[in-house]
Symmetry: C2
Subunit: 343 residues, 2 copies
DNA sequence: TTGTACGCGTTATCAT
DNA sequence: ATGATAACGCGTACAA
């Protein structure tokens, strides 16, 4: 009658080996390594012992022994934002399928914070680093960040950026420019001629691309009115309020560079006594879940966010260091931009 | 002129020590341990060397050397759901303040998957395990899960459950029962008398608590009509459709046990030609962000989700193994339940 | 205060 | 096929 390990102690490989009556090396082989090179009987004995002791290998120990981890480090701007949480969902799903563990850090829209995260993240020695929604465009930390990310590479890690292009790393982009252009053409085709654009500061690359893409899709109409504001619901609300104060004049439809801005704008219009869809058209970008639940339902450009997360992982696992995946988007016309009869 | 470590190699403490001309032990003390016991000059030398080499300590190595990690393992039902992503935001924020690393796993609404996750998670030897939105009520895996979680405890880890009570672990609950009762009283006070409840199967504890709480708040009115459906937007849509098909009869207001269900229900009513708020009142629970952006804006019960995540971390760090934090909720009446003049 | 040496749990190399 | 044993990178007694 053996009394096993001391109560309250987590069993180690050593305990399993002892329980199975084999050496620790054989136990290791039976559980993790090349199971082919171990006698069938010992294999079952070890497995039985592991099950009996409820043994789980110590990942950290494995990591330092093998010289590499099973970790993918995910950095997002804000988990609570449906945009990023959808990407995170895709990443975790793909990571699970690949048997990897996901660690998550939140950058809070701060480039400094982001740099700090990426720095300390190195301590984890992640196999893969995925950064979603960074705004490293034109920030003073840009160079340092690139440098820091290079180090992961030389250390054998993969770096993938989501929706951040022009950097020497694997990249998953969504076709912001093309999607906005397609939206512009769609709105033209159903009769709209006078446009306004609610956009964020151009240093935010996503906003700039969508803005420019929209302009490129407009032909033969007056220059749209551009209102700069925040990339948030509050920003959209504020821009709409300013537009109303200044006088709608002949603006027929507003394109907000993302859905939450568009939804905020709709609420602002309504607060000002205007009915979105009827008095003024509204379109967004992202096609977030609630786009179909607002009234009127929101015209938008559908972005496969979850797919973006999955693609990021796929890219990282492909070991193709600087490949780019561009995700297709699709225009979804809804009630917020009803067809407009020619004047 | 020294040539430092081989290019492409991640510097170790050994490299730092060599660069600074001290022993590994001194380098270790200077960077992490008791910095008091090292001469000022060596301290600066080591720090300079670490900075020059851009050294980051290998967390896995630290973990096995110290015998404990800096990891908090977060298990959520679905990251893409705003409910859980808000909790996750709170957890990551609090973890950051405590200098801990968050790993995230998604349980996909499956108790089996949840058990599997909790099992393999042990490999991480997390300091803290936080489980949000489990549905371990009455499932066959319940006992195994409890047993598994106990092991974390005996291994020196902390376990905290969010919105899951009656288990021998730290718990953060939201006052589902009380909040629903308060909502019921509020609706009574503005004139509603005939109710319907859209709820999920009672094995889902959250749904059951909200349902029962609502009933307990109703006095002197007919038994509400109860429609069982899924805990999702689609479930809400479906329940509303069924209610309409069956005939609204005298139902004046619907309470859906969460907001996404309520929003789905509103869309279903509208699809059926009814105007929510006017033809039928609708109320939800959670007060998710889009509650103010739907039309009519949704009456709900506000839940401090982010706070829940923060509280879970606080609880875990307090080392008070089985304490319970109950988060207060508050009724928010909006346009979806306009005051109803007495008949 | 500093350095030496051992231990953490695992994998991998090398004999056997 | 199996068992010693040397790594892996770090913390920390212990000795100096």
């Amino acid at each position: 009658m053996d009394d096993g390990p001391v109560a309250g102690d987590t069993p180690t490989l050593h305990d399993v080996a002892r329980e199975a009556g084999v050496s620790i090396a054989t136990a290791s082989r039976a559980l993790n390594g090349s199971a082919r090179n171990v006698r069938a009987e010992n294999l079952t004995r070890v497995r039985a012992a592991a099950a009996k002791l409820n043994y789980e290998p110590h990942l950290s120990a494995q990591a330092i022994a093998k010289g590499s981890t099973m970790t993918v480090a995910l950095v997002v701007r804000d988990v609570a934002d449906p945009y990023f949480s959808s990407i995170a969902a895709g990443v975790t799903q793909a990571a699970r399928e690949a048997g990897l563990i996901v660690t998550m850090a939140v950058a809070d829209s701060s480039p400094e914070r982001e740099l700090e995260i990426v720095k300390t993240l190195r301590g984890q020695r992640p196999r893969i680093v995925i950064i979603a929604g960074s705004r490293i465009d034109g920030t003073p930390t840009r160079e340092s960040l690139i440098e820091e990310l290079q180090e992961y590479r030389t250390a054998g890690g993969q770096v993938v950026l989501v929706s951040q292009r022009d950097l020497p790393f694997g990249t998953v982009t969504i076709d912001n420019h093309g999607g906005s252009a397609a939206l512009a053409r769609a709105l033209l085709s159903i009769g709209y001629r006078r446009f306004a654009v609610f956009h964020a500061p151009p240093s935010l690359r996503t906003s700039r691309d969508r803005h420019e893409g929209f302009l490129s899709g407009l032909t033969g109409v007056p220059e749209p009115l551009a209102i700069e504001t925040g990339f948030t619901r509050a920003g959209g609300y504020d821009a709409a309020r300013r537009l109303v104060e200044r006088g709608l004049e002949d603006v027929e439809v507003v394109f907000a560079v993302n859905d939450v801005m568009a939804i905020g704008a709709m609420t602002a219009f309504r607060d000002a006594g205007l009915t979105p869809g009827t008095d003024i058209g509204v379109a967004g970008f992202d096609d977030i879940g609630s786009a179909v639940d607002v009234v009127p339902s929101l015209t938008s450009v559908a972005v496969p966010l979850r797919e973006a997360g999955v693609s990021a992982m796929r890219l990282a696992l492909s070991a193709d260091a600087e490949a780019t995946t561009r995700l297709p988007v699709s225009v979804v016309l809804r009630e917020s931009t009803p067809p407009r009869p020619p004047a």
